[in-house]
Symmetry: C2
């Protein structure tokens, strides 16, 4: 009669297989997961939640939602230089969600578990009368005292960013109907970047010992650079022209110049933004080739406070606005 | 104008003070928490969520809701024999929640952090149009290979339970208006047991090396004993008369004999239910005195499958029903 499994069947049928690959999960058949400790290493832990209608669109594909949920979390581990190990998940499910949706959701989790080398080790499934709420606690490992922090940037450091910036925010505009007339390939590229960010889990651990400060871009480039500046007690200048844009993003902005500032403040990029002493620039360029991830120098850390964006002539561009907040 | 702080102010004003007592939190100012690893120890991790209208009543006091959220989670750590260390929290907040509610909620967290010796080390705050969803990931520590599991019970083992059983379920009946006419003291006792369970965090770690299997009673005594039986591959017999009831619960049942079966299947007890070889009974009684927690022998593990409840004459009582599920 019911279109949905009960809680115990949901766990045994759908979630337990996600936990089968690691002894730490105890098969989801105990009161807690048990992860071995290692002297000389730290366990990195982060929690990121997503709500239907806020962090994803209710009709986004369920497997993409699952993968985005994993990705925004392992992105935080990457920003700390930590290697992802495991995750716990909380799902608050409304009555409108059926078995088919959950099966697709679990298929997405399975795909990304494999991709990032992690397993589900614990969780809770609850009912809600409101929108779907998904929360993951991601667990990683990093050598003791070596984690990348937000607070280590010094005046003179270069500012670098991975990949391209702004695609996620533009992809959301495409999905909400606020950005039309793109070529199909550009349309699909931007939507895919919004739905399936590419967390830099290979790059993050390699930046240990190279970057002086690091964060992942989720609130927006300017806002997240502002977080580094606040904690490090420094200022930053970004060269707007240097910020790497995808060909699709360039096309979108060419068709609507009003979108030009969106990449800097849009959010949802999940690229790594980091500072590094200028003497390490060659090493970072080599690292870019080794890891296969584009890394672009976009500015410089200075003494002072706040983030300034300058044009090609070094003139400050006012009113670039603050980061995006869902709240 | 707004009755509520923005996300960043919420974190800096309300949540960051909860993280101030431990270096692991990095002041909630980084992408992840960092907990030191120790060879020879395991990190126990569990997640438990609560939804308004499902796991608590919307007009329950905010500080009690916070404390229950902490308690149901550290109860899972206790059931593994793990010592609580830290927690991460996800809150999905509807527009109806105001600053005063959040301040009371945080006061409850602060009180229970102190009580259980833990700190907030990470979190995420999101908006929802639906009911309040709260999720905690609790982190504990236990010596490697020594955690209490569900799977170690053997035929002949005694079955023990801490504290008293059924108060939480009866307290919920009081709050929903389904149990009336109690003396004020009994009324208040049962309501308090529902709102503020007493997780056995002192007892759990002491049961390491004593108990052969352990679980906390959240789904209901019979259902949770069933989990031990399933995983251990054994059967269990409970003597109904031996199950420890509080004076208030006895009064409630005396006034309405239809409630007699509720303690066995009610749930929300957060007492520890464990098996132990009969030879350890004297040691467990001494432990009860040392820890200051009543421990009562309520039955015996047998070969076979399933849970049987017997009366004072050893006759099986049929239809004790399954555990409570919110789902």
């Amino acid at each position: 009669m019911s279109r949905r499994r009960g809680e115990f069947a949901l766990i045994s049928d759908l979630f337990a297989p996600l936990a089968a690959g690691t002894p730490a999960s105890l098969g989801l058949a105990d009161d807690a997961a048990l992860l071995p400790g290692r002297t000389g290493f730290e366990t990195a832990m982060t929690v990121d939640a997503m709500v239907a209608g806020v962090h994803f669109l209710p009709d986004d594909p369920a497997d993409d939602i699952a993968r985005k949920l994993i990705r925004v979390n392992v992105s935080d581990l990457a920003a700390m230089g930590a290697r992802p190990v495991a995750y716990l998940m909380m799902v608050a499910i409304p009555p409108t969600i059926d078995d088919a949706w959950l099966e697709s959701f679990v298929a997405g989790l399975a795909a990304d578990q494999k991709r990032f080398g992690i397993h589900l080790v614990g969780g809770d499934t609850v009912a809600t009368s409101g929108p779907l709420v998904l929360s993951v606690t991601a667990v990683g490992e990093v050598a003791e005292g070596r984690a990348l922090r937000r607070g280590g940037a010094s005046p003179g450091d270069d500012i670098w960013v991975s990949g391209t910036i702004g695609d996620g925010a533009l992809g959301l505009r495409v999905l909400t109907g606020d950005l039309e007339g793109l070529r199909p390939a550009d349309h699909d590229f931007l939507v895919n970047r919004y739905r399936l960010p590419q967390p830099r889990t290979d790059l993050g651990p390699e930046l240990v010992g190279q970057a002086s400060a690091c964060i992942d871009v989720s609130d927006g480039l300017i806002a997240d650079l502002g977080h580094i500046c606040d904690v490090s007690g420094v200022a930053a200048t970004i060269e707007a022209e240097a910020v790497p844009l995808s060909p699709a993003a360039r096309q979108a902005i060419a068709s609507d110049p009003g979108l030009a500032a969106l990449p800097l403040r849009g959010g949802d990029d999940y690229e790594l933004l980091f500072a590094a002493p200028t003497g390490r620039a060659d090493g970072i360029r080599r690292l870019s080739e080794v890891v296969g991830t584009p890394l672009t120098r976009i500015g410089r850390i200075r003494s002072g406070a706040g983030v300034t964006v300058v044009d090609a002539h070094g003139r400050a561009i006012p009113d670039q606005g603050a980061g995006f907040t869902h709240f």
